[in-house]
């Protein structure tokens, strides 16, 4: 049997989700954003909610997320995606509303918005991409940058005396009564991708139940900002990022 005999439509087991557009992603090679976009497209396709989903784009590398997933989107000011999502969900209570934010957006300029959205218990899903660096602007230190991690603005490594300590947002908001589901996942292996897909699906389902905010943090890589190859970056992430940001469910009020 030749390879061409296997490549037939009836043998198809995995293809690009139909919700992803044909636009070539502007992300760097190996960027976790592309994988998470694909997972979101798969979940929306699987749940059959393409017409009922509204995404809120952040500012950062994923500012153009609306070019890649074929659903309704809005673009928020820097860090204000949870505020926009609050309005969108309250005006359209039947829709699935989610925000897609990076760590420079959510953990820095948008800290007030995310904390108050969690505190109010808005029925939205938040997807938080945490790669510990500002990717788009050239690799500066973010609030989530690890101690000792070299960035453009901490060339000798992050020093807590000068730059403070990393902000662990998911654990912080788990204390708030308005949150329903909080989990931390990653997308560096096929098994991790499966877990993240289940987590994002659960977050979407919870957001329609009226029980509070669902939050999925994805520990990601920024190989350009970290100055590594994509494969090295994945390895560095498992060795260093997971120590500070361990993967797993943090809170699930229906369990």
């Amino acid at each position: 049997m030749t390879i061409e005999d296997i490549k037939k439509p009836e043998n198809l087991v995995y293809r690009k989700p139909s919700l992803l557009t044909d636009n070539v992603m502007h992300y760097c090679p190996g960027c976790s954003h592309g994988t998470v976009h694909k997972i979101i497209a798969e979940v929306i396709e699987e749940m059959g909610i393409q017409e009922d989903t509204i995404g809120i784009c952040p500012v950062g590398c994923s500012v153009f997320a609306y070019n890649y997933i074929d659903i309704d989107w809005q673009e928020a000011a820097h860090g204000r995606a949870p505020a926009l999502a609050t309005a969108t969900k309250r005006l359209n209570p039947d829709k699935y509303v989610f925000t897609y934010q990076g760590d420079g957006d959510l953990a820095s300029i948008g800290t007030a918005e995310i904390i108050h959205a969690c505190s109010r218990g808005e029925n939205i899903a938040v997807i938080f991409i945490n790669n510990g660096i500002y990717g788009m602007t050239g690799g500066q230190m973010a609030p989530t940058t690890l101690i000792g991690m070299k960035t453009a603005t901490t060339p000798y490594g992050r020093d807590p005396k000068l730059n403070g300590f990393p902000l662990v947002i998911a654990d912080m908001i788990a204390q708030l009564d308005g949150t329903a589901y909080i989990t931390r996942q990653s997308v560096h292996t096929a098994a991790a991708v499966r877990k993240t897909r289940n987590a994002i699906r659960k977050a979407f389902e919870y957001s329609s139940k009226g029980i509070g905010l669902s939050f999925v943090e994805v520990v990601s890589t920024c190989n350009s900002g970290w100055k590594m190859t994509p494969v090295q970056a994945n390895k560095w992430m498992t060795e260093n990022m997971f120590a500070k940001y361990p993967v797993g469910d943090i809170k699930d009020i229906l369990k």
Binding site: M1, I3, I6, V13, Y14, K16, Y27, G34, H188, N234
Partner: protein
């Protein structure tokens, strides 16, 4: 029961990040010696050990891999 698989790579959209190669349990993917129109060495299937597990396609950030599988 065994499975045999094959992958199709969208050559022009592949950015050669090699994450698929790292995740392949049967070492059935490699970077091509030639480049696509962006200048990236794209991923391609090699050998006949592929089992169609879809690990490569799941971790591909640019969704350029399509997977086929049959039972033999």
């Amino acid at each position: 029961m065994a499975f045999k698989g094959a992958i199709d790579v969208d050559i022009q959209n592949c950015k050669g990040c090699s994450v698929c190669i790292e995740n392949c349990p049967t070492q059935s993917i490699r970077l091509s010696g030639s480049v696509n129109h962006k200048g990236y060495h794209y991923a391609e299937m090699t050998g006949d050990a592929c089992i169609g597990c879809s690990s490569c396609a799941m971790v591909c950030p640019d969704s350029v891999i399509t997977v086929y599988k049959i039972r033999i």
